[in-house]
Symmetry: C2
Subunit: 244 residues, 2 copies
Amino acid sequence: MIIGLIGFGKVSQNLLKLIKSDNITFITSKENRSAGTMEKIDDAEIEVLDTFREVAEKSDILISANSPKQALEVAQKYAKLTGGIFVDLNNVSPDTTQKISELADDFVDAAIIGKIDSPNPVLYLSGKSAFKLKFLDEFIKTVIISDKIGDASILKMLRSTYTKTLSAVLIESYELSKKYGLENEFFDTLSLTEGDEFREKSLSRIQNTCGSSKRKSEELEEIIDYFDDDLIMVEAALEKLRRY
Amino acid sequence: MIIGLIGFGKVSQNLLKLIKSDNITFITSKENRSAGTMEKIDDAEIEVLDTFREVAEKSDILISANSPKQALEVAQKYAKLTGGIFVDLNNVSPDTTQKISELADDFVDAAIIGKIDSPNPVLYLSGKSAFKLKFLDEFIKTVIISDKIGDASILKMLRSTYTKTLSAVLIESYELSKKYGLENEFFDTLSLTEGDEFREKSLSRIQNTCGSSKRKSEELEEIIDYFDDDLIMVEAALEKLRRY
């Protein structure tokens, strides 16, 4: 089986590390890649073809793992060229996933939950052909949600709805506790019920969110746009982040 | 040493179980108590005096553990009568704590964090005399925050600010996930980072909050009133709960 990778960032690099089998050959191309990426490709165990067109044509499974912004363009260029399954692993909205799915003959909606280089990433799949990728479970925990294109992307967005809104709650209550000089005790009392790692995890979330509040705000806007529901807490989180 | 208990609910009953020492005698009274409470007093290892006035007069430490509504009245009646330390263990606001402290000659602000009958309740204390209660650490984990009356109550409120707002976030994102039939996967994906007990804990929080949304709303109102800050997330949580 041949798996083609379009994009050679963290996701592709880690997939290569996770999926090791005599029956699987990975292919990619250096076409229009940066010097840095080319070096990484050289260091990896992967076959290199001249063009992504060739990669697409030869792949049984063609994985697009680029930036969210390039996802649609990559699909427009290569999805039709593959006789295999086109898999989008970019962090795109369910709407974009829908558009991309219409460009491919055979499409699987996929979302990696948890960081790809964490000890326990999980690959969530949806779509009628998702079962064809179930063999990946041998290498990375793989869960098939349903045969509906969109479910994997929606799930990722639901998770993100919770974590981003939670961050806004953390920011607000942590700052309030600092105002009273009780931030250490605040974490201590919460660790009793939220677990020993609560302080470390929360501070990292707060820092992460405040450090990229513009991007996080945009993601919250996407969530509000997509779900089009009465999301009081998410809207408040957006309002909160806009002030940072 | 004599510890007097005004109120004989869950807190007092559990303090009796936790604090076992040959040097400590507990006293209380059946004055104006319900039949049920009297029975519980009969079953406990505690000395019973005729009146709470006598309890107050004889106590080295006089603990008020009633309902939040009765806290101020109890303090008005008995705080002045004790030559010992008056300790308020009711779940009252920092403002009420302040008022109560002014009624006693020697006062310690105290808050139990975590349920008193849980495996690891912690007693947080503040006030100049807090150190006089440090010996309780032998029986229940006891932390002295500062010598400021109010800090223990404020800490309890800060904790509650976080947990109640979090519940509103949980309700919103869980309901959204149900709308898409992805509630199980929603919990699964979050358990990856939030811990194995995330589902159980969250469902219990959601149920608990929705089942007493009126009381929780009132508590959120108290939080907003007390802190008098720009609490976007807390106000959104109040708005959310008002709809239940």
